[in-house]
C-alpha cells in the first residue's frame, strides 16, 4: 500500500518540506543548486530579492531555538516575505488551544507558509495533513524525526568542499538516538549517493536496527570510525543525557567520543569537520578542532540561510500552480 508522498504535489513538485525521506536525488540536487543561486544575495548591497514579496511566513516554534528561528526569519526576509514569529510556550497549549486551533487561526490571517518546530515526531506531517490547500509547511525540526533544512545545508557545505558525493566517506558522531539532524543527514547522504556513511556512538545512543533502517555502518570507536573519512559531522549532545542511564559522565564521553586533533589524524588530510551548533566545547570536540583549519562550522551557518531561501521559495512558488503544467512564461 503506497500512499503518495505528502510533501509533493501531483506533478512531483515540492509543496511542503517535511523530511528527506522519499525525495529523489534530483530534487535534492535542485534544492542545492537553487541554494547556490541564493548565496549571492548576501553579496548585494541590498541583501534581499523581491521573489516572495507579499507572502506571509509564520515561524511557529513550540520549542525555543533562537538560532534556527533566526536563520529562517532572515531567509524569509531576504526573499521579501513578511514574517511572523510565534514562540508558543507550552502554557498556551495547556490553556487548551490545540495545534490545529493555532493553525486555523493563523490560516485565517492568510499566512502562506508555516515553519514549524515541535518536540514530537510527526508534527510537521500532521500539520501538512490538516493545512489548507494553499498553505505550505516547512519542518524546522520535529521530535527525533527530521530536520531536513539542517541536513540540506550540511549537504551544501559538503558539496562546496567535496563536489563528488559518489566518492565520499562521511562519519556522524554522537547522539544518533535522539537526533533528528542525524536522521535527516543519513537519508540525505544516502539519497545523494554517498556510498560510505558511518555513525559513531556508544550503543545507548544508537537506535535499534539503525544500520538496516538507514543503510549506514555503526562504529563504537572514534579513531576507527573516522579513518579515511572525508567529512566528520559532530552532533550536539544534550547535557541532560549525562549522568543518566544513557551516559555516565561528560568526562568519559569526551575521553571516548570527543573530537581532538589527535583522534582526527586517522581521517583524510583534507577532511572537513562540521557541527550543527551550538558546540559544547570540551564535550563533543575541543576548541582546537572547532576553530581549526578543517572546521567549516561558520560556513554551515551562511549556507543555512541560502538553503532555507531555496526551500521556501520552491514551496511558495509551487503553491499556485495547481495542476497545470509548468510552462515557460514570456519573459524576454
Amino acid at each position: 500500500m503506497t500512499t503518495p508522498n505528502p510533501q509533493l504535489d501531483a506533478q512531483g513538485r515540492l509543496k511542503h518540506f517535511l523530511t528527506i525521506d522519499g525525495l529523489s536525488r534530483e530534487l535534492l540536487i535542485e534544492i542545492l543548486d537553487q541554494a547556490e543561486g541564493f548565496l549571492g544575495v548576501a553579496q548585494q548591497a541590498v541583501k534581499k530579492v523581491p521573489l516572495c514579496r507579499g507572502k506571509v511566513v509564520a515561524n511557529l516554534f513550540f520549542e525555543t531555538s533562537t538560532r534556527t528561528r533566526t536563520t529562517f526569519e532572515l531567509a524569509a526576509k531576504r526573499l521579501s516575505a513578511d514574517v511572523l514569529n510565534l514562540n508558543i510556550s507550552t502554557s498556551s497549549t495547556a490553556k487548551g488551544e490545540t495545534l490545529l486551533d493555532t493553525l486555523r487561526n493563523l490560516e485565517a490571517m492568510h499566512v502562506d507558509m508555516f515553519v514549524v518546530r515541535h518536540a514530537e515526531s510527526g508534527t510537521a506531517h500532521f500539520m501538512a495533513a490538516h493545512a489548507a490547500p494553499h498553505v505550505s509547511i516547512v519542518n524546522a525540526g520535529d521530535g527525533r524525526h527530521a530536520h531536513p533544512t539542517q541536513a540540506m545545508l550540511d549537504m551544501l557545505t559538503i558539496r562546496r568542499h567535496k563536489p563528488d558525493f559518489d566518492q565520499l566517506s562521511v562519519a556522524i558522531v554522537g547522539d544518533i538516538l535522539h537526533s533528528r539532524v542525524a536522521r535527516s543527514q543519513m537519508l540525505a547522504l544516502r539519497t545523494l549517493g554517498v556510498p560510505d556513511v558511518r555513525i559513531i556512538a556508544p550503543r545507548t545512543l544508537l537506535p535499534t536496527r539503525v544500520e538496516e533502517a538507514f543503510g549506514v555502518r555503526a562504529y563504537h570507536d572514534l579513531s576507527e570510525g573516522v579513518r579515511d573519512a572525508d567529512v566528520v559531522i559532530m552532533l550536539r549532545i544534550q547535557r541532560e543525557r549525562m549522568n543518566s542511564a544513557l551516559l555516565p559522565s561528560e568526562h568519559e564521553y569526551f575521553q571516548l567520543f570527543g573530537l581532538t586533533e589527535e583522534r582526527l589524524s586517522t581521517a583524510r588530510p583534507d577532511a572537513i569537520v562540521m557541527h550543527p551548533g551550538p558546540i559544547n566545547r570540551g564535550v563533543e570536540m575541543d576548541s582546537q578542532v572547532a576553530d581549526g583549519r578543517r572546521s567549516v562550522i561558520l560556513e554551515q551557518v551562511t549556507n543555512g540561510i541560502a538553503v532555507r531561501m531555496a526551500v521556501m521559495s520552491m514551496c511558495l512558488g509551487n503553491q499556485h500552480l495547481g495542476s497545470q503544467s509548468q510552462e515557460e512564461a514570456t519573459h524576454a
Binding site: 543561486g37 523581491p50 512558488g317 499556485h320 514570456t330 524576454a332
Partner: protein, 179 residues
C-alpha cells in the same frame, strides 16, 4: 522535437555584433565614458556580452546577471529551474554600465535586471545593448544599441542558441522552444 528554423545564421550574427561594437564605441566616446562595466544577462545575454567585451577590449571583467529572483511571474510559474548565481566582480556604485541581453521583447527581463542592479548599488548610468529588438513591448523600455530590429507574429518566438556557434532560431509558440 521542436519545429524551428534558423532566422539568422552565425555569420549574420557575428556581423551584427560587429555593428553593435562600433555603435557602442561611438556612444561611449560621445559620452566620455572611459571605463564602462559590461554585464550580460543569463544565458543568451552573456554569450553576446562575451563577444562585445572582447571586441571592445574592456579592462574590467565581465559581469553576469541572473534575474530569476526578480521575475514578476514567480507566483504564476514558480521557481525557475536553473538559477545561476549573479556575478558582479566590481562594485556598480557610480559606474557606467552596459547591460547586454539577446532579445528585447516585453521588457520584463530588463525591468527585473534593473532591480537586481539597484540592489547591488547606484550606477551612474545604464546603457542597454541587445542583439534583437523586436515587437511585443509591455513596458516603456527601449534599447540604446540593437544588432537587429524586426517584427514578428505574436505567436512567434525567437531564441538565441549558443554558445558556439550563435544562431537565432524561430519557433511557433506552443511548440516547445529550445531551452
Amino acid at each position: 522535437m521542436s519545429k524551428s528554423d534558423i532566422w539568422k545564421d552565425a555569420a549574420a550574427i557575428e556581423a551584427a555584433i560587429d555593428t553593435m561594437t562600433e555603435r557602442l564605441r561611438e556612444r561611449l566616446e560621445r559620452r566620455g565614458i572611459e571605463r564602462p562595466l559590461m554585464i550580460g544577462i543569463h544565458t543568451g545575454g552573456v554569450w553576446v556580452a562575451e563577444r562585445l567585451h572582447a571586441r571592445l577590449g574592456l579592462a574590467e571583467p565581465l559581469g553576469h546577471l541572473d534575474i530569476s529572483f526578480y521575475r514578476d511571474d514567480f507566483s504564476r510559474v514558480g521557481m525557475h529551474p536553473q538559477v545561476r548565481p549573479s556575478y558582479l566582480p566590481v562594485g556598480v556604485d557610480d559606474r557606467h554600465l552596459i547591460l547586454v541581453d539577446d532579445v528585447l521583447q516585453s521588457g520584463r527581463t530588463i525591468r527585473a535586471a534593473h532591480n537586481v542592479l539597484f540592489d547591488y548599488g547606484r550606477p551612474a548610468s545604464v546603457t542597454l545593448a541587445v542583439l534583437l529588438e523586436r515587437d511585443g513591448r509591455e513596458l516603456p523600455i527601449a534599447a540604446d544599441v540593437a544588432g537587429f530590429e524586426a517584427g514578428f507574429g505574436a505567436d512567434e518566438q525567437i531564441k538565441l542558441s549558443g554558445p558556439e556557434p550563435l544562431l537565432m532560431l524561430r519557433a511557433r509558440r506552443g511548440v516547445n522552444p529550445i531551452r
